[in-house]
Amino acid sequence: MSYSVAIFHSVSATLRAERVLGQAGLSIKLIPTPRQLSSDCGVALRFESAFRQDIEKLLTLAQMEAEIHDLAR
């Protein structure tokens, strides 16, 4: 299983994104930001890399900025 993570500017932005993506039925998990990725925000949203495009589209539609990284497995 290969995962990607979306990192936002703040905890509240992350939670908002979680709600938006969750309501759209996407399978995402709130996790601590992986150590190898430095960030202002300590939590990130993890999802299966296969859904990356869907998630990027939804975030753009919701006007939410995020950095998306693929996690090495």
Binding site: V11, L15, K29, L30, I31, P32, V43
Partner: protein
């Protein structure tokens, strides 16, 4: 044969009274008014070498215990303190569904992050105890159910306080692990080598 009316008695009274009675007789019938107590009594029966039958009648449960083999020597709880082995167990004590004070929303985020991280650790606690608001994490709708199920399959015992489940009226929504009582919980805490309480 002794009959004990434990209706209205709070956990762990029913278990203590039954255990005491079993020291004098081989058959005990105890009447309790909540499901959590019947689960605790089933476990006591198993520890004491008794067969157990639970009969529900209106709002109460009649629990009949009958010893089927003589216990050889002092009962479990009277045995001398366990060996060094027991003192090396790590116990996770969760007393709320949020981690820390200040913001409830943040607390829940932290708790979710904590349990995710726990799942990635090589060495896991032997038991996780959930009390007060913590029992909201082991019932249907909990944000960490998948993490808890993962811990359970890896051998972590998940104990939810029966009194707490009963108080919040969510006993029938328990989704992972089993119901425990103050007696078992206190024992686990005192025998622990390390207690981690997020």
């Amino acid at each position: 044969m002794k009959t004990i009316d434990a209706r209205g008695l709070a956990c762990p009274q029913p278990v203590l009274l039954t255990r005491k009675a079993l020291q004098e007789v081989d058959e005990v019938t105890i009447i309790v008014d909540n499901l959590a107590a019947t689960e605790n009594l089933r476990r006591l029966a198993s520890n004491e070498g008794c067969e157990v039958q639970v009969r529900a009648e209106k709002d109460v449960f009649h629990v009949a215990l009958r010893r089927i083999g003589r216990a050889a020597g002092p009962s479990q709880a009277e045995a001398p303190l366990p060996t060094a082995e027991a003192g090396t167990k790590t116990v996770l004590l969760v007393t709320s569904d949020g981690l820390g004070q200040g913001s409830q929303e943040l607390g829940q985020v932290l708790m979710r992050a904590f349990f995710h991280t726990l799942g990635e650790m090589k060495s896991l606690p032997s038991v996780a105890i959930f009390m007060n608001n913590g029992v909201k994490l082991t019932v249907n709708g909990s944000p960490i159910l998948e993490d808890l199920k993962n811990l359970a399959t890896r051998g972590v015992e998940l104990l939810s306080c029966g009194t707490c489940l009963n108080y919040f009226e969510i006993t029938d929504r328990l989704a992972v692990g089993r119901i425990s009582n103050m007696y078992e919980i206190a024992e686990a805490l005192f025998q622990a080598g390390k207690i981690v309480s997020p």
